[in-house]
C-alpha cells in the first residue's frame, strides 16, 4: 500500500453525547463504538478491537478474515433449505416475514398515486384480516419520500429511500451525499446506499470505506443500509470483505442487492453476510442487520432465509430491527399463505389487494 495513503475520516462522531462505553439504543439511531479513549486517536471496536485508521490497516484486517469455500457455503445453504416449517412455526414465521418486508417500488414509472397505494398496503397488508402485522418499511426513490412520509404518518412503518445514485452508484461523492441529504430532509427514516463496486473491484477499499462513512454522517439520525450488490462482486470472499468494510464504516445493515442486476440475493451470499454480522457482533458488541433483497418472491424462499437467520445468528436477528426482506411481490404471497395457514383454504392471488 502506498505510504501516502489518506488517513480515514474517523467513522463515528466523537462528541461527548456519542462517546459511550457500550452499545446503546436510542430510538432508531444506534450509537456505536466501544471506546473510552480520551485522546480519540484511534477507533477501537470492543476489547479485542481492530484499529482502522489507514487503508493499509483495513487491508490487513480484511486479509485476516477467513476465506469462504464456495462449494461448502452453497452446500450448507442448500442443506438448511431443506428445513421443513409446519403448523405454528410456519404461522409465526410468516408473520415475522411480513413484519420484515421493506415493501419496495423502484421504477421510473412510480407516481405519487402508486406510492400512496403501496403505503396503504404497507400499513394494513390484508385489510379485514385480523392481526396481520404491518411491514417494516416502504422503500422508494428519494423524490417520493415526501409522499410516502405523508401517507405513513402516525404509523409504525418506516420510510426508506435508495440514495447515492442508486442503483449503479456512478456519480461523484458530492452528488451522492446531496441525494442522501435530500432524502433525509424529506423525512426518510432509512437510507439504502450502494457501495462503489468499481472502487471495490479495483482495490480502492479506502474509497469504499470513506464513502460509507461520509454517507453515514449525512444520514444523521437515519438508519443506513449498505448495498453490496453481491451479484457484481463475483466471489463470496468479496462478499465477506465488503460486509466487513460496511460494518466497520458504520452500516446499520448490510444489504445484498439493488434488485437491478440479474444476480440478486442468494441463500449462500446471505449466509456469508450473516456469518460476517455474527463475527462482527462477537468481536465488537455491535449488532449489524442484514437485508436480503431482489428476486425473493415466495413464502417458501422467505422462510428459508429465516431458517438461515435462526441457525446462523439466532434470536437477536429474528426481528425487523436486524433482518429485512427487500421485495415487492413477496408480500402478496406471504398474505396468501397466511390465509391458507389460518384455515381459509387455498387463496387466489386476486383475493389479496394489489399494491
Amino acid at each position: 500500500m502506498p505510504i501516502n495513503c489518506p488517513t480515514f475520516v474517523r467513522p463515528w462522531p466523537r462528541s461527548a453525547d456519542h462517546h459511550v462505553a457500550s452499545v446503546t439504543h436510542v430510538s432508531t439511531t444506534r450509537l456505536r463504538l466501544v471506546s473510552d479513549d480520551a485522546h480519540g486517536a484511534v477507533v477501537h471496536l470492543g476489547s479485542s478491537a481492530p484499529v482502522v485508521e489507514t487503508e493499509a490497516q483495513l487491508r490487513t484486517l480484511l486479509g485476516g478474515l477467513s476465506g469462504v469455500d464456495a462449494v461448502g457455503v452453497e452446500a450448507r445453504a442448500a442443506k438448511l433449505a431443506t428445513r421443513s416449517l409446519k403448523k405454528e412455526t410456519k404461522r409465526a414465521a410468516i408473520d415475522l416475514a411480513i413484519s420484515m418486508v421493506d415493501l419496495t417500488t423502484l421504477e421510473g414509472a412510480d407516481t405519487p398515486g402508486r406510492v400512496a397505494s403501496l403505503c396503504a398496503k404497507a400499513r394494513h397488508p390484508d385489510f379485514g384480516v385480523a392481526h396481520v402485522p404491518s411491514v417494516a418499511a416502504v422503500c422508494v426513490y428519494p423524490d417520493l419520500v415526501g409522499v410516502a412520509k405523508k401517507e405513513l404518518r402516525s404509523s409504525s412503518v418506516k420510510v426508506a429511500a435508495v440514495a447515492t445514485a442508486f442503483p449503479s452508484g456512478r456519480a461523484s461523492l458530492k452528488v451522492k451525499l446531496l441525494d442522501v441529504r435530500e432524502a433525509v430532509a424529506a423525512g426518510a427514516d432509512e437510507i439504502d446506499m450502494v457501495i462503489d463496486r468499481g472502487a471495490f473491484l479495483s482495490g480502492r477499499l479506502g474509497q469504499v470505506f470513506d464513502e460509507i462513512v461520509a454517507v453515514k454522517e449525512a444520514c444523521g439520525e437515519a438508519h443506513l443500509k449498505v448495498i453490496l450488490e453481491v451479484g457484481e462482486l463475483g466471489t463470496y470472499d468479496h462478499v465477506r470483505r465488503a460486509s466487513w468494510i460496511a460494518m466497520l464504516a458504520g452500516a446499520d445493515f448490510t444489504k445484498t442487492s439493488t434488485g437491478k442486476v440479474t444476480k440478486s440475493a442468494s441463500l449462500a451470499s446471505v449466509l456469508v453476510m450473516l456469518e460476517a454480522a455474527r463475527d462482527f457482533a462477537e468481536g465488537t458488541g455491535v449488532v449489524v442487520g442484514v437485508k436480503a433483497a431482489g428476486g425473493i418472491r415466495t413464502t417458501k424462499e422467505a422462510l428459508r432465509y429465516l431458517v438461515l437467520v435462526n441457525e446462523t445468528v439466532g434470536s437477536t436477528w429474528l426481528s425487523p430491527n436486524y433482518f429485512r426482506f427487500g421485495a415487492s411481490s413477496l408480500l402478496t404471497d406471504l398474505l396468501m399463505q397466511r390465509r391458507t395457514q389460518h384455515g381459509a383454504g387455498y387463496v387466489r392471488p386476486d383475493a389479496i389487494g394489489v399494491d
Binding site: 457500550s22 452499545v23 470492543g46 477467513s66 476465506g67 469462504v68 469455500d69 462449494v71 461448502g72 457455503v73 452446500a75 450448507r76 431443506t82 428445513r83 421443513s84 416449517l85 409446519k86 403448523k87 405454528e88 412455526t89 410456519k90 409465526a92 414465521a93 415475522l96 456469518e275 455474527r278 457482533a281 462477537e282 458488541g285 455491535v286 449488532v287 429465516l306 431458517v307 435462526n310 441457525e311 446462523t312 445468528v313 439466532g314 434470536s315 437477536t316 436477528w317 429474528l318
Partner: protein, 486 residues
C-alpha cells in the same frame, strides 16, 4: 460483549415435520430371494428386525442356513452359466438403467424404509443414500457395454459368482455399490445384508423383479454372522466382497487363504480431519460436523479424529461446540432431524464403553445437552478434547457420534499424527492454500483424501482403503477391476 450479541441460536423452534411412513407396506415376514422369487428358508428360524428409534418390531426375516446359502450359490451359478455370461454388455446395461430408474421412482419408499430400519435421519436417506444408490446403478449401467475401453485389455471377462456381504450403516447404498459393478461386468451375485438392516435389500429384490432381471442373477440371503460365514465358506464362489469391521475382514481373509477366491475388503477407519490455520472457517466447521455426525458417525471413513493446528484450536473448538449444541437429535422420520438413532443395542453399548474409556484416559468430554428420546437407542453428539495420540479413543474405531480432538504445530506433525494409525481409509485437509493441501495429501496414507470437504461420495470416484482399512476399490473405473479377471 453486549447482551444483544448474545443471540440464542435456534430460538425459532420447529414444529414436528414427520415424513409419513404410510408409503411403506411392510410384510410381517420376508423369505429369501432365490432364483428370482421370494422363497421360504429350509429351517423356520427367523430374525426380527426393529426400528432402532423406537425399539418396535418391524418384521421378521428368514435366517438363512448353510443349506439356503448353497441354494443361493447354485442359483447364481446356474444364472451365470445359462444366462448372464451370454448376455451382451448393452443388454446388461439396459437392466441396470431400469433398476436405477425404478429406484428413483420409488425413492421415497426406499428412503422411509431405510430410515425405519436403520435409524438414520430421513434427510440423509432421502437426499444422500437413495439418490446415490440410483446414481451408482446409472454409472455402472454406462460401463456395461464399454468394458473394452476400461483399461483392462480387450473383452475382459467376469469372475463368475460373487458373494457380497454388506454392513448396516448404508444398507441400500452398500447393496448398490456391490451389485452395480458386479452386474455390469457380467457376474452374478449372492448378497447378504446385515442382520439388523435387511429390509431395503429385500425391497430392492422387488425392484429387480419389476426390472425383470433374469432369475438367479441376484440372490439375497438374510441372516446373521453364521449366514455370512456359510457364504464365505462356500466353495462355489469366485469372489467375496466384504464391507464391515476389520476383525471380520481378517477372519474372512484367513478362511480364504488356501482358496483361489478373489477378495476385496472395505473395513474400518479412524479418519483424520486436518485443520490448518488458514482453513475456510465456517465451511470447515460444517465439514467437521458432517465428518463425524453424518449418519450418527456410523461411517467407516468418518472423520473421527480432528487434528487442528494449535494456533487456532481455541477458536475452532469454540465454534465447534456451538455447532454441536445446535444439532437436532431425535425422530429420524422428522425432516428437520440432523442426528438419528444408534442402529442397535450392541453398537450403543460399544459407544458407551469407548466413551467411558475416553473419560478414564483423562480426555475432556463435551456432550450436547440435547434431550434424547426415551425409547430406542440414542447417543448425544460428543467431542473429546485433550486427547493424546496414544489414547484408545484416538486409535480405535468407535463408529458412533464421538469425535476425538488432537492438535499439531506444523504440517510435518499433522502428517505424522494423521498417519499414526493402523487404518488408512480417508482423511480430510482443510486449508485455503492449494500447495499445502497437495503437499499433505501426497504424504497421507489413506485411500481417500478430501480437500475442504468430507464424506462426499460419487459413483465416478474410487473409494477404498489401505492397511487395516482393507483393499480393493469401489466406484469409478477402478471399481470394475474388483469384478473382472484381470
Amino acid at each position: 460483549m453486549s447482551d444483544l450479541a448474545r443471540s440464542e441460536l435456534g430460538s425459532l423452534t420447529y414444529d414436528p415435520a414427520p415424513e409419513s411412513a404410510s408409503i411403506v407396506t411392510l410384510k410381517p415376514h420376508y423369505g429369501l430371494f432365490l432364483d428370482g422369487k421370494f422363497t421360504d428358508p429350509t429351517s423356520h428360524e427367523s430374525i426380527t428386525t426393529i426400528n432402532p428409534a423406537t425399539g418396535a418390531d418391524l418384521a421378521t426375516v428368514a435366517h438363512a442356513s448353510s443349506a439356503d446359502v448353497d441354494r443361493a450359490v447354485r442359483s447364481a451359478r446356474r444364472a451365470y452359466e445359462k444366462v448372464w455370461r451370454k448376455t451382451s454388455g448393452a443388454e446388461r446395461g439396459k437392466y441396470l438403467f431400469r433398476i436405477a430408474r425404478l429406484l428413483q421412482e420409488r425413492a421415497r419408499e426406499f428412503a422411509v424404509l431405510e430410515t425405519l430400519d436403520n435409524g438414520k435421519p430421513i434427510r440423509e436417506s432421502r437426499d444422500i443414500d437413495v439418490p446415490a444408490a440410483a446414481a451408482h446403478f446409472f454409472y455402472y449401467a454406462g460401463w456395461a457395454d464399454k468394458l473394452d475401453y476400461a483399461g483392462f485389455g480387450p473383452a475382459p471377462v467376469p469372475l463368475g459368482v460373487a458373494g457380497q456381504i454388506i454392513p448396516w450403516n448404508f444398507p441400500l447404498l452398500m447393496a448398490a455399490w456391490k451389485l452395480a459393478p458386479a452386474l455390469a461386468t457380467g457376474n452374478t451375485c449372492v448378497l447378504k445384508p446385515a442382520e439388523t438392516t435387511p429390509l431395503t435389500a429385500l425391497l430392492l429384490a422387488e425392484v429387480l423383479q419389476q426390472a425383470e432381471l433374469p432369475p438367479g442373477v441376484v440372490n439375497i440371503v438374510t441372516g446373521d454372522g453364521a449366514t455370512g460365514a456359510a457364504l464365505v465358506d462356500h466353495e462355489g464362489l469366485d469372489k467375496i466382497a466384504f464391507t464391515g469391521s476389520t476383525d471380520v475382514g481378517r477372519e474372512i481373509q484367513r478362511r480364504l487363504a488356501t482358496r483361489g477366491t478373489h477378495l476385496t475388503l472395505e473395513l474400518g477407519g479412524k479418519g483424520a480431519n486436518i485443520v490448518f490455520d488458514d482453513a475456510p472457517l465456517d465451511e470447515m466447521i460444517e465439514g467437521v460436523i458432517d465428518g463425524i455426525f453424518f449418519n450418527q458417525g456410523h461411517v467407516c471413513c468418518a472423520g473421527s479424529r480432528l487434528l487442528v493446528q494449535e494456533s487456532v484450536a481455541d477458536e475452532v473448538l469454540r465454534r465447534l461446540f456451538r455447532r454441536v449444541e445446535q444439532l437436532r437429535v431425535g425422530n429420524p422420520l422428522d425432516k428437520n432431524t440432523d442426528v438419528g438413532a444408534i442402529n442397535s443395542a450392541a453398537q450403543l453399548s460399544r459407544i458407551h464403553e469407548m466413551v467411558d474409556v475416553g473419560v478414564s484416559e483423562g480426555a475432556d468430554r463435551f456432550t450436547s445437552s440435547c434431550a434424547l428420546p426415551s425409547d430406542g437407542y440414542w447417543f448425544a453428539p460428543t467431542v473429546f478434547t485433550n486427547v493424546s495420540p496414544s489414547d484408545r479413543i484416538a486409535r480405535e474405531e468407535i463408529f458412533g457420534p464421538v469425535l476425538s480432538v488432537l492438535t499439531f504445530r506444523t504440517p510435518d506433525e499433522a502428517v505424522a499424527k494423521a498417519n499414526n494409525s493402523l487404518y488408512g481409509l480417508a482423511c480430510g485437509v482443510w486449508s485455503e492454500k492449494g500447495s499445502r493441501t497437495l503437499w499433505v495429501a501426497e504424504r497421507l496414507r489413506a485411500g481417500v483424501v478430501w480437500s475442504n470437504t468430507y464424506n462426499r461420495f460419487d459413483p465416478t470416484s474410487p473409494f477404498g482403503g489401505v492397511r487395516l482399512s482393507g483393499f480393493g476399490r469401489e466406484g469409478g473405473r477402478h471399481g470394475l477391476e474388483a469384478y473382472l479377471d484381470v
